[in-house]
């Protein structure tokens, strides 16, 4: 662990370089900020490599079976007399599976080939505890509880070729999620518009930022100095790029609420070319033990928000979606059979969506194990035929160009043979 404290050194040296060079340039009439901006601007002209992965965590365990309905499997309808999504209202995907009607907004993305679905995906660990299973999915180490950092943070630590920017790894929310926690720098932003030093007026906030920056620059070394420098860089970059002024484009209409806000702000960061490589957002409300509903109801309402948020994000980014992949994830799925409260209980396998980038969409991925009781996990739940680490790993390799997964998913030997082929060349 201790060696990791040396990681942000690169940031300091770049800053030192920028500062020193900047000072020299002042003499020539250049604004030192110019160089700063130039250093950031180089590698991320749109379409020149700056890839982004957006992780969207559905906390509470989404019912994959009613999100992406196995309409050809008779057990689905047999086990869910009250809450099965009727065939008549399903949006057919490939004859075997159908979209929940409240996800109608995603159908055009499926048709144009930018949306893929992986079914029967999940964790090899059998736990049905939300917090254990979320922990396992976020650390990327099912069964090992004491892993200190998240898989996405380990990715940032080991893939060092990405340019240094405080926005490389950004989580939307008040705290860093486990996925992004660890030795590599990562930002937690609850609201882009409120990031920075709070003051009644903008000048006040600028002034405070300058004062604190001066305090930290001269008086501390090591992690305190490099992290605060990143923070002030982030404030400056935000001020400069002002991502919040970018209105949704192409008629994108984000749904009201936290999820829509966060996806819109992720799109703003991407459009501002701030070097976001991994963005994280989460959305709750999937723990539908009671009155889950069929095409209407609790699950329907959550899916409606999800579908609208994703299609707005896709529309908003337009051409840029070539460089952006959205991956949804959830800690486990739900029981095949409905419970006594017209809901579903904690299960095992679920479905995940992959959207954008070079995704070969318009098809289903993963082996479908079937819902026959003899094929179920522990006789009750959808079995897992794709380990989530294989899907996450394939995404890191094929979308972000990760060369080595062994440190990112320790104990899970990376094997391209297990890749599903979700991404095209």
């Amino acid at each position: 662990m201790s060696q990791d404290s040396s990681e942000p050194v690169g940031t300091i040296s770049r800053r030192a370089f920028v500062r020193a060079g900047g000072l020299a340039l002042v003499g020539l009439g250049f604004d030192p900020l110019f160089l700063d901006r130039a250093a950031y601007a180089l590698p991320h002209l749109p379409g020149t490599g700056g890839k982004t992965l957006v992780c969207l965590f559905q906390r509470g365990a989404v019912d994959g079976l009613s999100m992406i309905v196995p309409q050809a499997d008779p057990h689905y309808y047999r086990e869910r007399p009250r809450i099965a999504v009727p065939r008549t209202s399903l949006i057919d995907l490939d004859g075997q599976f159908g979209l929940h009607p409240r996800l109608a907004g995603l159908k055009p993305l499926w048709d144009e080939g930018s949306l893929a679905v992986v079914h029967a995906v999940g964790s090899p660990d059998a736990t049905r505890s939300h917090f254990d299973a979320q922990d396992y999915m976020e650390t990327g180490t099912p069964g090992a509880k004491s892993t200190p950092d998240g898989w996405a943070n380990r990715y940032c630590r080991h893939a060092r070729e990405h340019r240094e920017t405080p926005f490389r790894a950004v989580a939307f929310g008040p705290q860093l999620p486990r996925t992004l926690a660890g030795g590599a720098p990562a930002l937690a932003i609850d609201d882009l518009r409120a990031f920075g030093l709070r003051s009644a007026r903008r000048e006040g906030s600028d002034r405070l930022a300058r004062a604190f920056e001066a305090l930290y620059e001269g008086a501390s070394t090591g992690l305190l100095a490099s992290s605060s420098a990143e923070g002030f860089d982030a404030i400056r970059m935000l001020r400069e790029a002002d991502p919040s002024r970018r209105q949704p484009e192409n008629g994108a209409a984000y749904p009201p609420g936290r999820l829509g806000q966060h996806l819109m702000q992720i799109a703003q960061l991407i459009k501002a070319d701030l070097g976001v490589q991994i963005a994280f957002a989460d959305v709750g409300g999937w723990d539908t033990h009671v009155n889950q509903g069929a095409d209407q109801g609790q699950l329907g309402a959550r899916l409606d928000e999800l579908g609208r948020a994703l299609s707005a994000f896709h529309a908003d980014l337009g051409e840029r979606m070539r460089d952006v992949v959205v991956l949804t994830m959830s800690e486990f799925g739900r029981t095949v059979r409905e419970n006594g409260n017209s809901g579903t209980d904690h299960g095992h396998g679920t479905a995940m969506l992959v959207l954008g980038g070079k995704v070969r969409g318009g098809r289903m991925y993963g082996r479908w194990p079937g819902l026959d009781p003899s094929n179920r996990f522990e006789g009750r739940d959808l079995a897992v035929t794709t380990d989530f680490r294989d899907l996450f790993g394939e995404t890191l390799v094929r979308h972000l160009g990760s060369a080595d997964l062994s440190a990112i998913f320790p104990g899970h030997s990376p094997d391209p043979a297990r890749h599903l082929g979700v991404f095209g060349p």
């Binding site: 662990m1 404290s5 923070g231 860089d233």
Partner: protein, 551 residues
């Protein structure tokens, strides 16, 4: 005792060993208050320096610590302290049940929120009460850290809770946690490690959190299920088809929910985190054997209060062998106690724990010397925590120049020490706890059994630092809700910026302000006419600045 030994002893007690040259009495007092307390309050450094820092530490370690009547008054508004665990559990179950019923009703009749003047229904009131348990416990912890005179006790209690971490939001752990903190951790945090270890192993909160309640000998059937089965079989002939199906589905449900075999979760964390440490020399076989030994360590059914119970039916009666020790068949509950004794006395455990204590109290990278001193005291005193703490603070490494100011405060340490530095107090509303959560350390909400990390890599990141600066400015301006303070009393208004900065250095930073910080603050004060604004800015910059992040 001769006069000479008495004088020698007095000198030894007054100044830390080996630090006579390195540190002034004020500096050593400040260091002790940073590490063994939640920071200094105005004037406390001088008073500890006058008493003699070692004497102050001894007094803090003394089992006959004087009572703290002011603290008792502050604790009174916290209902979680006076409500028995069993009652909280009952309330929790009732609220769960009623919430389910309400949800069912809601969807049929549309949401019914009470209109103005309409009484809120009891289920909703109870829900609300339950939701308050967690925040209340968080705030109680902060009030104690800010205001208790028994500062070392509060630091050590925090250390042990974190070591034996339990996550508040895992179902029943919400109502169980107040009792866990109050009766499992706090009374034992300066006692013998083995006593504390056994207390956690017998705590419903831990057994539930790490799933030991679900760990049973393979094939074991609880008497309740047996009864249900008999009942169904007996009634079979007379039951109408519909009732039979209902009974079958109940059986099925009960069976599905019944644990079916070993759950190694607690056994693994007991070895890896609580005692031996990850490199403590145990194998997967040991984990399984320990899990077998601990089968039966469970709780009464939640509706009956979820108290600790040993269940013979769930216990694996076979012979076991763990960590090179044989446990003959039929050991029952006793073999679990024997195992815990073995673990508590194991050399790996004392090394693991000594190292963790030194990491918390001395340095992110504690030296072998310090760890060895603590481990030696551990073995000489059979894991007496006081003796181990004494060894740590008497180790030269504790007072070494490299250790002073070398650790970065955790969010809780930062918030509590900031409030203490301005002579503030926290009220009984959970608002200060929200601030700590916003800085990234929501109390009792670390879901991983590792507890919160202790080293700077985990706490220092750009977003978190900006949040600390914002907190500092808000506190200095009197804008942190739920904090009482009288800044006039500690940093009087001053027209002259130099006088003001002098006072801020003396009171808030205890003379540690660097020349650089001084010049930046003076520069910022230059254009400010209002003394009130100037003071808020100077205090805010001092608390949000780099010196105050260190301890």
């Amino acid at each position: 005792m001769t006069k000479v030994t008495a004088i020698l002893l007095a000198v030894l007690l007054a100044t830390p060993a080996g630090a006579q040259q390195a540190l002034s009495p004020r500096d050593s007092a400040l260091h002790a208050l940073n590490r063994l307390a939640w920071g200094a309050t105005p004037g406390l450094v001088d008073s500890v320096a006058r008493t003699g820092v070692m004497r102050w530490i001894e007094a803090q370690l003394s089992p006959e610590a004087p009572g703290d009547p002011a603290m008792e008054n502050r604790e009174r508004p916290f209902a979680v302290l006076s409500t028995p665990s069993a009652d909280l559990v009952q309330e929790y179950l009732r609220a769960q049940r009623e919430a389910r019923v309400a949800r069912r009703g809601d969807s049929m009749a549309g949401r019914r929120r009470p209109g103005p003047g309409e009484r809120m229904d009891p289920a909703m009131l109870e829900q609300r009460r339950l939701r308050r348990i967690g925040p209340q416990l968080q705030q109680l912890t902060l009030v104690r850290a800010v205001s208790s005179t028994n500062q070392l006790g509060e630091v050590v209690a925090d250390f042990w809770f974190n070591h034996f971490n339990v996550f508040q939001n895992k179902g029943l752990d919400r109502p169980l946690l107040p009792g866990y903190v109050e009766w499992t951790i706090r009374p034992h945090s300066l006692g013998r490690f083995e006593t504390l270890l056994v207390a956690t192993a017998e705590s419903p909160a831990m057994l539930f959190y790490l799933d030991n309640v679900r760990s049973v000998a393979p094939g074991a059937t609880p008497p309740e299920l047996e009864r249900l089965r008999r009942l169904r079989n007996a009634g079979r002939g007379r039951m109408v088809e519909q009732r039979r199906r209902r009974a079958d589905s109940l059986m099925q449900e009960a069976q599905n929910r019944m644990p079916r075999g070993l759950n190694e979760n607690y056994a693994r964390e007991l070895l890896e985190l609580h005692t031996l440490g990850v490199d403590g020399g145990y194998s997967q076989r040991d984990v399984t054997e320990v899990a077998r030994i601990l089968t039966g360590w469970g709780t009464a059914p939640p509706p009956q209060g979820a108290r600790f119970e040993f269940h013979d039916w769930a216990h694996d009666e076979g012979a076991k062998s763990a960590l090179g020790t044989d446990f003959p068949a039929g050991g029952g509950r006793q073999e679990g106690l024997r195992l815990l004794g073995l673990l508590a006395a194991h050399p790996s455990t004392r090394h693991h724990l000594s190292s963790k204590l030194c990491e918390r109290l001395v340095s992110d990278l504690p030296s072998d010397g310090c760890i060895d001193a603590a481990a030696r005291a551990w073995s000489r005193n059979e894991g007496d925590i006081r003796a181990v703490l004494r060894a740590v603070v008497r180790s030269p490494d504790f007072w070494a120049p490299a250790a002073i100011g070398s650790k970065i405060k955790t969010p809780m340490e930062f918030v509590v020490s900031a409030v203490r530095s301005v002579g503030g107090e926290a009220d009984s509303t959970p608002r200060l706890a929200q601030q700590v959560a916003r800085l990234g350390q929501p109390l009792y909400l670390q879901s991983a059994p590792t507890g919160y990390p202790e080293t700077q890599e985990d706490w220092v990141n750009s977003g978190a630092l900006l949040a600390r600066m914002n907190f500092a400015m808000a506190l200095a301006a009197g804008r942190v809700p739920g904090v009482w303070m009288d800044l006039d009393r500690v940093v009087p208004l001053a027209e002259d910026a130099t006088v003001l900065v002098e006072a801020v250095d003396r009171v808030i930073l205890n003379g540690q302000m660097s020349p650089h910080t001084r010049s930046v603050i003076l520069q910022e004060l230059a254009g400010i006419g209002s003394p009130v604004q100037a003071r808020a800015l100077a205090v805010g910059l001092a608390i949000g600045g780099p010196e105050f992040q260190r301890q």
